[in-house]
C-alpha cells in the first residue's frame, strides 16, 4: 500500500501558488471541497483559474474566493446563483469560459485518462464552437475539445483510506471522480478517513492511484441551496 495520508489541509495544499489552475469538484454546493476552499482563502492564493461546474454562492463555496478577488478566470457550465460573480463578469474583472456541463466533465476525464482531446456534439453551431475544429462523423457534426490541464484538483469524498481510495455519497459524487488524476496533484478531503482494508475493493469509486494526498476534513457545513420538502399527510 502506498500511503497518501497527510495530517491536515495545510499539508495537503503545500505547493499551491498564485497563478495556478485548480479543478474543484462539486455541483452547486453539493460535494464541494470545503476545507480546501477555506484554506485557499486563508492562504490568499491569487490570480487563479478555477475549473468548477459552478461558482458557489455569494458567501459560500467558490463565492468566498470571488469575494476576495482571488480568481482571475472561471471555467464553468452554470454560474446563475452568484451576484458577485455576475458583477465581476459584466465589469470585466473576471474572465469566464462557459463550457457545456458534459463537455466540462469529459475534459476532466480526458485529462485523467490520457486523451488529448475528444469530439462531442455539444455546442456545435453555437458560440461555444467558435474558433474550434468541427467535423462530421456519420453525418452528424462534432466539436473537438481539448483535455483540461490543471495544477491541483481538489475533491471531496464521503469515505476514503490512506491508500487514497475514495467513495462518494449520493449526488455529491458529480465531478469529483472525474477530476481525480486529472491534475498534476489531486488532493482529496473526506468526511471519514477509515482504516486501510475497511473499504470493499469492489465498491471503490476512485482507486488511490488517482490521488496524491488525502486528509480527514473538518467542520463540514454542507449547505443546502434549495431546501425543497413536502409535508407528511
Amino acid at each position: 500500500m502506498i500511503n497518501k495520508k497527510v495530517n491536515n489541509v495545510k499539508e495537503a495544499l503545500e505547493g499551491v501558488k498564485n497563478g495556478m489552475t485548480f479543478m474543484l469538484g462539486g455541483f452547486g454546493l453539493c460535494g464541494i471541497p470545503e476545507n480546501a476552499i477555506s484554506e485557499l482563502v486563508k492562504l490568499n492564493i491569487r490570480e487563479v483559474t478555477c475549473i468548477s461546474n459552478n461558482a458557489g454562492v455569494d458567501d459560500f463555496g467558490l463565492g468566498l474566493l470571488l469575494q476576495n478577488k482571488q480568481i482571475k478566470k472561471m471555467i464553468s457550465s452554470y454560474v446563475g446563483e452568484n451576484d458577485e460573480f455576475e458583477r465581476q463578469m459584466l465589469s470585466g474583472e473576471l474572465e469566464v469560459e462557459l463550457t457545456p456541463q458534459g463537455t466540462l466533465a469529459e475534459k476532466c476525464r480526458a485529462a485523467q485518462a490520457g486523451f488529448p482531446a475528444f469530439y462531442t456534439p455539444a455546442g456545435f453551431g453555437t458560440e461555444v464552437a467558435e474558433g474550434k475544429e468541427t467535423r462530421a462523423f456519420d453525418g452528424k457534426m462534432y466539436v473537438l475539445e481539448p483535455a483540461f490541464k490543471a495544477d491541483f484538483a481538489f475533491v471531496k469524498a464521503w469515505k476514503g483510506d490512506a491508500a487514497g481510495n475514495l467513495i462518494f455519497k449520493g449526488t455529491s459524487r458529480n465531478f469529483n471522480p472525474n477530476m481525480c488524476g486529472a491534475a498534476t496533484i489531486t488532493v482529496a478531503e473526506v468526511e471519514e478517513l477509515v482504516e486501510v482494508g475497511e473499504l470493499d475493493p469492489n465498491n471503490i469509486h476512485i482507486p488511490g492511484i488517482f490521488v496524491q494526498r488525502i486528509f480527514q476534513g473538518k467542520n463540514y457545513e454542507k449547505r443546502i441551496e434549495q431546501r425543497t420538502v413536502r409535508q407528511k399527510q
Binding site: P100, N178, T228
Partner: protein, 218 residues
C-alpha cells in the same frame, strides 16, 4: 384561456410514454413529473448524477448530498442509482435518455433553441442544456408563446445566442402544441378556448395549420 405553467406541465406529461427515461430541465419541466400517469413505467434522470428521482423529501428528511440539477433536495425511488458527471452525460450523449424536456427563451422554425444567454444582460450559462439538445432525438420545449411585451418567442430565426441547432421536435406553450418539422411550426393543438387566429398572431415563425385544430385535453 391560455394555460398557466401547471397547464403546460400537464400537457407535456401526456408526451411521456411507457418505458421512457426522461430528463427534466429547471422551471416548468420540473413540474411535469407531478402529472405523469401513475401506471406508466418511467424514470427521471438528473444530469448532476441520479437516475430514478422521486418526490421532494419529507420536511426534516432532506439530505444535502441528494439533490437534482436545480439544486433542490430530492428523494430516490427503488431501483435508483447515483453516478459521476461523466457517466451522466454518457447517458445523455449516448442517446440512452428517451425524452428531454426543457425551457427556452426562443425557438425557431428550423428547430434551433436559445436559452442560456442574453448578451450584455444575463449570462447564467448553459449547464447541461447544450449536451442535452445536441444528442437527444426527442426534445420538447416548455415555454411561454410570447414575452412580457407580447412579442413572439416562436420565431423564424432566434435572435439570442443558440443553445443548439435544428434539434427541437415539439413546443408546448401557454397557447399551443407545435410540432417542428420541414422548417415550420405545425399547429397540433390549441389551448382550451384559444383560437387559431390568436396563435397565428402570437407566432412570428412560419405556422402551418392543417385542417381542424383540436383543443388540448388536459
Amino acid at each position: 384561456m391560455a394555460l398557466d405553467k401547471i397547464g403546460i406541465a400537464k400537457r407535456i406529461a401526456q408526451e411521456v410514454q411507457n418505458g421512457f427515461y426522461v430528463n427534466l430541465g429547471i422551471g416548468i419541466p420540473t413540474l411535469v413529473a407531478n402529472y405523469v400517469a401513475n401506471d406508466l413505467e418511467v424514470e427521471f434522470q438528473s444530469e448532476n448524477g441520479v437516475l430514478g428521482m422521486g418526490p421532494f423529501p419529507f420536511d426534516g428528511e432532506e439530505d444535502a448530498d441528494i439533490i437534482n440539477a436545480g439544486k433542490q433536495t430530492i428523494t430516490t425511488m427503488p431501483g435508483a442509482s447515483f453516478f459521476d458527471s461523466s457517466m451522466s452525460f454518457a447517458m445523455i450523449r449516448g442517446k440512452h435518455v428517451d425524452l428531454t424536456i426543457l425551457g427556452a427563451m426562443e425557438v425557431s422554425e428550423n428547430g434551433d433553441i436559445a436559452n442560456w444567454k442574453i448578451p450584455g444582460k444575463m449570462v447564467k450559462g448553459m449547464g447541461g442544456a447544450m449536451d442535452l439538445v445536441a444528442s437527444a432525438e426527442n426534445i420538447i420545449v416548455a415555454m411561454m408563446h410570447t414575452n412580457k411585451a407580447g412579442e413572439s418567442k416562436i420565431l423564424k430565426r432566434c435572435s439570442l445566442p443558440l443553445t443548439g441547432v435544428g434539434c427541437v421536435t415539439k413546443v408546448v406553450t401557454n397557447l399551443a402544441v407545435l410540432e417542428v418539422k420541414n422548417n415550420a411550426f405545425h399547429l397540433l393543438e390549441r389551448a382550451p378556448g384559444v383560437s387559431v387566429e390568436e396563435i397565428k398572431n402570437a407566432t412570428e415563425g412560419t405556422l402551418v395549420v392543417h385542417g381542424e385544430i383540436p383543443e388540448m385535453n388536459i
